[in-house]
């Protein structure tokens, strides 16, 4: 519906709304996170869900213990290479539409363990991440900010068109291949359809 007409009608006391608005409004205010944590970031995630910070104000009060009932995966903590297949498996078992918040330095890049041999250098190498939060660990406010950012992102999604929500596009994968344990590293070390090594930039 045309924005100008919508505005004009509302001045006359007629409120118009699209299906898409209702759909997005419903989705963004009932994002249920998956109840799982990997390291110290999980403690901050728990704090964010408790009374003091109260993530329930934004509709994310029910942490679901099963991936089949969850919409949002908060990757809270260090993802070791040994743990990664389970993380991808959990993500695959979540129903669409599903979102991922990579919480903390480790989950977004490997953090202080980046030079190590056993920690994955960012969970976005294997699953698509919607919001990255830096911090070691990020404070509950940062997680709430990430959550609000995710809500804005959901609100911008459309049923059709260029900004179509990925769950409406049957061509986009909903599941991602689970890497195998190799002799020296995960095989493959990253999923090229999700992540590519960054292109080199000219030093200024």
């Amino acid at each position: 519906m045309d924005e100008g007409l919508k505005n004009e009608l509302s001045k006359q006391g007629v409120f118009t709304v699209t299906m898409q608005d209702v759909y997005n409004w419903g989705r963004k205010n009932s994002v249920w996170p998956l109840n799982f944590g990997l390291a110290c970031c999980a403690i901050e995630m728990i704090a964010a869900s408790m009374a003091r910070y109260d993530l329930a104000r934004f509709g994310a009060e029910v942490f679901r213990p099963s991936p089949r009932q969850a919409d949002l995966m908060i990757v809270a903590g260090t993802v070791t290479k040994k743990m990664l297949p389970q993380v991808v498996r959990l993500y695959n078992q979540m129903p669409e539409p599903k979102y991922v918040i990579a919480m903390g330095a480790c989950a977004i890049s490997g953090g202080p363990f980046k030079q190590g041999y056993n920690v994955l250098k960012g969970v976005d190498r294997f699953i698509p991440v919607d919001v990255h939060i830096p911090g070691c660990p990020p404070r509950p406010e940062a997680l709430i900010h990430a959550f609000l950012t995710l809500q804005e992102k959901i609100d911008r999604q459309t049923v059709s068109g260029p900004n179509q929500a990925r769950n409406f596009n049957a061509d986009l994968p909903s599941e991602f291949p689970i890497p195998q344990f190799g002799e020296h590293d995960l095989v493959p070390p990253y999923n090229p359809s999700v992540w590519q090594p960054p292109a080199p930039t000219k030093a200024a």
Binding site: G116, E183, D185, P189
Partner: protein, 224 residues
């Protein structure tokens, strides 16, 4: 305070490390023991134990009424790769009829080996630590050591970790599997010659080794 310090310099309430060594040789005459010096400020010396008698010695240390080292707080590994050891010795040399003291540097090739180190305390007697060392013959095929898990149960996971990260095989261990890395993993990450998989990506401030790696990933014009 000074008295307390003096107390701490002794290894246990009852014995110094030399006395412990003498008691072990008294009970187990065949045991080959060696006190390993420590030049660091802590000066914590340790007792190098031969592999054949290690379990018997450990059992003695645990069960002896005076020592009662009933608690193994820590077991860890050390990797000693092949290295050239330089030792300086002073020599009297006669040159032109004058006797002079000359310092000479001797270079000897030390063959590589792996070590496992155990820190023992006594809960009953409130003393410790006594430090035991076990050495493998080499780093490649003769990398077996006796497990001390039958003596101190707390060694179980730590010996598994040593097996995982250093590749020391503990004979007599009840459940020797990798503990941190996955089963199909082939390397031993804590060894000095371990090369980790090169899954490098963007580094904002590369330097030293990281810079070298970064260069290999970036095209020539960006190298500078």
């Amino acid at each position: 305070m000074a008295a307390a310090r003096a107390d701490q310099s002794r290894l246990t309430n009852v014995d110094t490390l030399e006395q412990i060594k003498d008691r072990i040789t008294h009970v187990l005459p065949g045991a080959r023991l060696e006190i390993v010096a420590n030049e660091s400020p802590s000066a914590q010396r340790s007792l190098l134990v031969d592999n054949e008698h290690a379990v018997a010695i450990a059992t003695f240390l645990r069960d002896d009424a005076e020592l009662q080292l009933d608690y193994c707080s820590n077991a860890t590994g050390v990797d000693w790769p092949e290295a050239v050891v330089k030792t300086k010795i002073k020599k009297m040399v006669v040159t032109d009829g004058v006797e002079k003291e000359v310092e000479e540097t001797l270079e000897t090739l030390r063959s590589g080996y792996l070590e496992s180190v155990y820190h023992l305390y006594s809960m009953a007697k409130k003393h410790g630590p006594v430090i035991l060392r076990l050495r493998t013959e080499n780093r490649v095929d003769k990398n077996h050591l006796p497990s001390l898990t039958p003596v101190w149960r707390s060694c179980e996971y730590q010996e598994r970790e040593i097996f995982d990260l250093f590749g020391i095989v503990f004979d007599g261990h009840p459940d020797l599997r990798r503990i941190l890395m996955w089963d199909g993993f082939a390397d031993f990450p804590m060894r000095k010659d371990y090369v980790d998989p090169d899954d490098f990506e963007y580094e904002p401030t590369p330097h030293d080794d990281v810079l070298e790696r970064a260069k290999s990933h970036y095209p020539p014009e960006v190298k500078a």
